[in-house]
Symmetry: C2
Subunit: 180 residues, 2 copies
């Protein structure tokens, strides 16, 4: 009932997609990293794409929900950044890694990480944003993205102090007090 192998393959795929990118990772790479054969991969997953889709599903819906809440409840930039950073830290930065991997553009149309990022930046910039506002919003979002390399250096774990430090830097980059 518990297909352990499947999880090992999924974990191997995640690690490789994060380190080498989606396009540069082959099914053979994934199989070898999990100590299995290529055919085993295709027994557990229909296509290479579907592996990416499975890895991305939960992180992507988390970000989507954040965007919805931000729009409906008019969350402040500080709240958006905090939620985004916490979510990224918890889901192991898969969303960010895929969003910044150009070879995954248009891979899974339902999970358009790039569009989600652009929307978040718009929300950070505010309703009547000037070009300068957008530059600052992009800067703040870029700081939030540093959870990826930070996670990699901290062996997949982000302590609270580090998370706060990233959040503070993002807010400073945004250049506001963080209020509504």
């Amino acid at each position: 009932m518990t297909p352990r192998r499947r999880d090992e393959l999924l974990a191997a795929a995640r690690e490789l997609f994060l380190r080498k990118g989606y396009a540069a990772t082959s099914i053979a790479d994934i199989a070898a990293a999990a100590g299995a054969s290529k055919a085993a991969v295709f027994y557990h997953f229909k296509t290479k794409e579907s592996i990416a889709a499975e890895l991305l599903e939960s992180p992507f819906t988390a970000v989507s929900r954040l965007i919805e809440r931000a729009e409906e409840q008019r969350l402040s930039p500080a709240q958006i950044l905090t939620d985004y950073i916490d979510g990224a830290a918890e889901t192991g930065a898969v969303f960010l890694a895929f969003a910044s991997d150009p070879s995954t553009a248009d891979l899974i149309p339902q999970y358009d990480a790039d569009a989600a990022c652009r929307r978040i930046i718009e929300l950070l910039a505010g309703p009547a944003a000037t070009p300068a506002d957008r530059v600052r919003a992009r800067a703040a979002f870029a700081v939030a993205q540093t959870v990826v390399p930070t996670l990699q250096e901290h062996a997949g774990l982000l302590d609270d102090a580090t998370r706060q430090e990233i959040r503070a830097a993002a807010l400073r980059a945004l250049g506001t007090g963080g209020g509504s």
Copy 2:
């Protein structure tokens, strides 16, 4: 004497590497984008790698020289960030794009963009850096990297005001006055 075709191919390759990433861009893509055949690409360039190497050479040496100067003359974080952003804006952000494309890791050992980025972050963090210092240095560097999407939105041109805005956001993220 002036092989125009070569420059067109180089320009097409740059555009595609930036948009889709190195691994996801095929020789056929490059040839089609320049209105040529695959064989034409291999007449002008020995390998696909060599195209990347040629695109990366000038931006990489610019960054290398910045690192050398920063080490020898003990440049301040503000000076390093300013130079880096200006250099990135001038070289069309090729360096940054390759540095953030995971599929180019170890492509050209001489041009290790990732190592260069880590070195710059160390220099920004300072000699006796705490973990928090490193987080802030990474944040500032991440802000500098936003020249990539910003250039893309501004059709390859960064006006002085925008450049200053990015620079200011990076310095705020770093959390210092920008002094020595």
